[in-house]
């Protein structure tokens, strides 16, 4: 069995392709050990079972606790219509803008990495000023250190920007090609939000 077959969760690509890329980096210089194909099996089953047991316990305990809390009074009966309208408008705008920003980031990834470095410096500087103005000397000093570090960091990584930008472009292209992934992420967010409220 060829142990160097790249595999993506069950999809084995057995076409061993030697290219300019391989020759350029060299298998040994850039690559570590390639991931090996794993047989389809349930890993770390004990922890999955433990998680389900804990969920079951919570499903029994939480309603009891909530009922006990309701008996103690409380309960907010305000009109939420206007708030729902507000949240909907903001959410639709934010999701739309986030989707548009994917294309924008692909087009200007290199410039954005550069700007982000300046943004980080500016952000540290702003926090430092705010902390000193609020007479919090310890926090102000820490943000002054962070400010100095961000300047040194920005200078040190200048030559790495093209690679980081190219990597970001590749990642954004992958996400843009599978935008459905973000829908799954929003579903997860709602589940998490619901659990937090409970």
């Amino acid at each position: 069995m060829n142990t160097n077959i790249p595999i993506v969760q069950g999809y084995a690509n057995d076409q061993q392709y030697t290219s300019a890329a391989t020759e350029e980096y060299g298998e040994d210089s850039f690559n570590g050990q390639k991931g090996n194909p794993q047989p389809k099996k349930f890993n770390d089953v004990f922890f999955a079972i433990l998680f389900y047991i804990h969920l079951t316990a919570m499903a029994i305990a939480l309603p009891m606790a909530i009922n006990a809390q309701d008996q103690n009074g409380g309960g907010n009966s305000g009109t939420f219509g206007s708030i729902i309208y507000f949240v909907s408008v903001c959410s639709i705008f934010s999701v739309g803008l986030s989707t548009v920003s994917l294309g924008f980031m692909i087009k200007f990834s290199r410039q954005l990495v550069q700007i982000a470095l300046y943004f980080y410096i500016g952000f540290s500087f702003l926090l430092m000023v705010i902390m000193f103005m609020a007479a919090s000397m310890l926090m102000g000093g820490l943000f002054a250190l962070s400010f100095a570090f961000s300047i040194c960091y920005a200078r040190a990584v200048q030559s790495r920007i093209p690679f980081a930008a190219a990597n970001l472009t590749a990642a954004l292209t992958a996400v843009k090609a599978n935008v459905g992934l973000t829908m799954v992420a929003y579903v997860f967010m709602f589940v998490g939000f619901g659990y937090s409220i409970a």
Partner: protein
Amino acid sequence: MTTISNAVLNTYPGMAFFLFLSFYWTHQVLKNTMHVTTAGVVGTWWFAPDEASSLCSRSIGDSFVRATTYSFGSICFGSLIVALIQALRQLNRHLRENRDAQLIVCLIDCVLGCIEGLIEYFNKWAYVYVGLYGYSYLDAGRNVIQLFQNKGWTTLITDDLAGMVLFMISIMIGLFTGLIGFIVASLDANIFADFNFDASPEGVGFGFGFLIGVVLASIMLGVVESAVSTCIVCFAESPAEFEQNHPSLSLEMREAWRSSWPTECGNM
């Protein structure tokens, strides 16, 4: 959950710890399941783009199913470690209200915070291997150590720079959404009337809008962040497949690699 935890904390600290643990564990599991799903989809896009190039491509469903079945135990394992530390920190924070031994409590919080950050960072990479290859958690961990032994600084810097861009963009989206919130609140002055806020409705509208914008943008950009980590691992392991399947992106990356590390390229 947190309200109940606060009420229980004073009378039953042990039970409060388990409530915190449950809260953090579930959130970590949700977050990491999404991360593993993204790694699977981006990996499929890397190796077999035909399977992962549409709005609702088959790879999304397949990766999700694998993350919630075969790899779910590994997700729960790593998530539990982080959740344990988070729950301990939460308990420790409540101890801060007690005036005794403030310095020790502060030191413990600091040490736990560092451990939490390290394990979360480790998990981020481990789950890329789980999503890509279906490793168990410990085997994925071994691969992460190997990755950092081979390309530690490259990985750190590339990941960090991309993270900075995503943070900046989410703040920008937050500001624009805040502006929309400001406009909506100024059109209807009674929108927050039921909530008795001290600030002006426009200010509250901007604040809430900003929060909604940052949270929703962070979710989408969180997916991009997972994709960035996956691309770093895939590029370290399989540049040839990338060139075969995505020639223009591969060329761009190779040129960038050459300009970022001219000495290493020159020595080859």
